[in-house]
């Protein structure tokens, strides 16, 4: 044993240490969404698929369909699948890859970490949508020029925000599943169940049971999301329906998931 040189006194907590600012957490979480191979390719694929979808519209669509809406729809489809997965992995990788052991040791307030992830996820969503609209616009210009038709900008200013909101709803569903299930595979499977399997079941139920027909728009989040993608959420009642499905599928499970996450063990 070497001799103790410094007397073991006056070791105290550095009271000058400041709490980790929330903006810094958001920056770190944003970085963590890009810095793995899977995260990197996920984001690259958003760009690549936007361009591919645009190319497909130019090549395959009839001249009459060379409109901004066609491009927006073609790009929106892959986007609406990838973005929720990005949201899921932002949360679940901490558990599936066990990096949470370090994350939650450096920032013990798990609520703040999850909050930072939510903001970062939202920023990625908005950024991706901006890229999508831009690529679509370039595609529309190029497509109409190639086809020799007039450039048609047939998307109203009220539609675009609804499409953005629709994608954010999809991401929020993914994020919620991530918080509740805390396992990548389970959450991704869960997402495809609630986005592909569940709507069919609810649709069927509405067909065979009349009383459910009126209820479906209040319960089926896909129904309200499709409305958003179509830019047709207009009346107060339709917004109330969106509020209802959001409460059922996002707010309530998210709150329950967060409560259990805050006390759960990180292993």
């Amino acid at each position: 044993m070497t001799a103790t040189i410094v007397p073991p006194t006056s070791i105290s907590v550095r009271r000058t240490a400041r709490p980790v600012p929330f903006a810094r957490l958001v920056r770190v979480e944003l970085r963590k969404m890009f810095d793995t191979r899977s995260g990197f390719w996920m984001l690259v694929s958003i760009g690549v698929l936007s361009v591919l979808a645009t190319g497909a519209v130019i090549v395959f669509a009839p001249d009459s369909a060379i409109t901004y809406e066609s491009f927006a729809t073609a790009i929106g489809l892959p986007m609406s699948v990838i973005l929720p997965v990005v949201a899921i992995l932002a949360v679940t990788s901490e558990w599936s890859q066990r990096s949470g052991l370090t994350t939650f040791t450096l920032v013990p307030s798990r609520g703040r970490v999850i909050g930072a992830k939510a903001i970062a996820t939202g920023l990625v969503g908005l950024g991706s949508m901006a890229v999508a609209f831009a690529v679509g616009a370039v595609g529309n210009l190029a497509g109409s020029a190639l086809a020799g038709v007039d450039t048609v900008w047939d998307m109203s200013l009220s539609t675009a925000p609804q499409i953005v909101l629709g994608n954010l709803v999809g991401m929020a569903i993914g994020f919620t599943l991530g918080v509740v299930l805390r396992a990548s595979a389970a959450a991704i499977v869960g997402y495809f169940v609630v986005s592909l399997v569940l709507p069919g079941i609810l649709e069927l139920l509405a067909l065979v049971r009349d009383w459910f027909l009126d209820l479906q728009p209040w319960i089926d989040w896909n129904y309200t999301q499709v409305k958003l993608f179509e830019g047709t959420t207009d009346t107060g009642e339709e917004w109330a329906m969106l509020g209802s499905t959001t409460t059922i599928w996002i707010v309530v499970p998210l709150v329950i998931g967060l409560l259990s996450l805050r006390r759960s063990e990180v292993k």
Binding site: M1, T2, A3, T4, I5, V6, P7, P8, T9, I11, S12, V13, R14, A17, R18, P19, V20, R24, L25, R27, V28, R31, K32, D35, T36, R37, S38, G39, S93, Q97, R98, S99, G100, L101, T102, T103, F104, T105, L106, V107, P108, S109, R263, E265, V266, K267
Partner: protein, 299 residues
Amino acid sequence: MITVESLTRRYGGFTAVDHVSFTARPGRVTGFLGPNGAGKSTTMRVMVGLTVPTSGSATIDGVRFADLPNPGLEVGVLLDASAQHAGRTGREILTIAADTMGLPRTRVDEMIELVSLTPTEARRRVRNYSLGMRQRLGIATALLGDPRVLILDEPANGLDPAGIRWMRDLLTDFAGRGGTVLLSSHLLHEIEVIADDLVVIGNGAIVASGTKEELLAAAGTLARSTSPRDLAHALEQAGIPSTLAGDGSVRTDADPARVGSVALTAGIALTELRSAEGAGLEDMFLSLTADTQREGVAA
């Protein structure tokens, strides 16, 4: 200083940690020992806020870990070197940690150099790291914030002999500068060399704690003679219980001076007489945790 007070953690009906209390003092290396599943890791996870205790508390200089404003600057933690995103590079993992703590990026390079990862290795993804490299990376993460307290679970695991020596010097030096070190290990020899204080846990409860000298002195005396049976007999006559081990040594709780005088009186020539410290930590560990060992070994 780490203070653990009456810490208990239950999982349903199973009590993983049962009213555990001990302190790890500044300027000293505290070794945390126990058989597999004794509750070491659970205790350490509670200390750093990853597991919520059922009752009791663990504090760092009087503050709950979760209440530390920027814990990375005060407590360096390594619980599981493999718990890292396999798709990140070593450098990236350190960069994220440095950013979270608000440290300059130059600190990342300093740490990579300190733990002897080459720049090429630091650029590789952790998926391709050996256990020893992951341990080095984990230690780099723990030291990044220049903390005063280190909590390390099995840090020597997977390190090569040179790495183990390096780790030993690093921790001794850290404690020498007034830092607090709590480390668990199965490598008893390592603990014996490095630790100043020991805490032994078995079945979730503390079975022994104190300075290494105290605990090992309590292990008694080991004596050998050309006729071990006669020695054991003489000790028995003198009212000193002893055990005759298979290797011909005689062990007893009495101190060496007493055993020596008994042997002299009985005219028995001793070939070896020493406090059982050399036989050491392993024997102590096995006897203290005998009830809790899976193999049912008794010392």
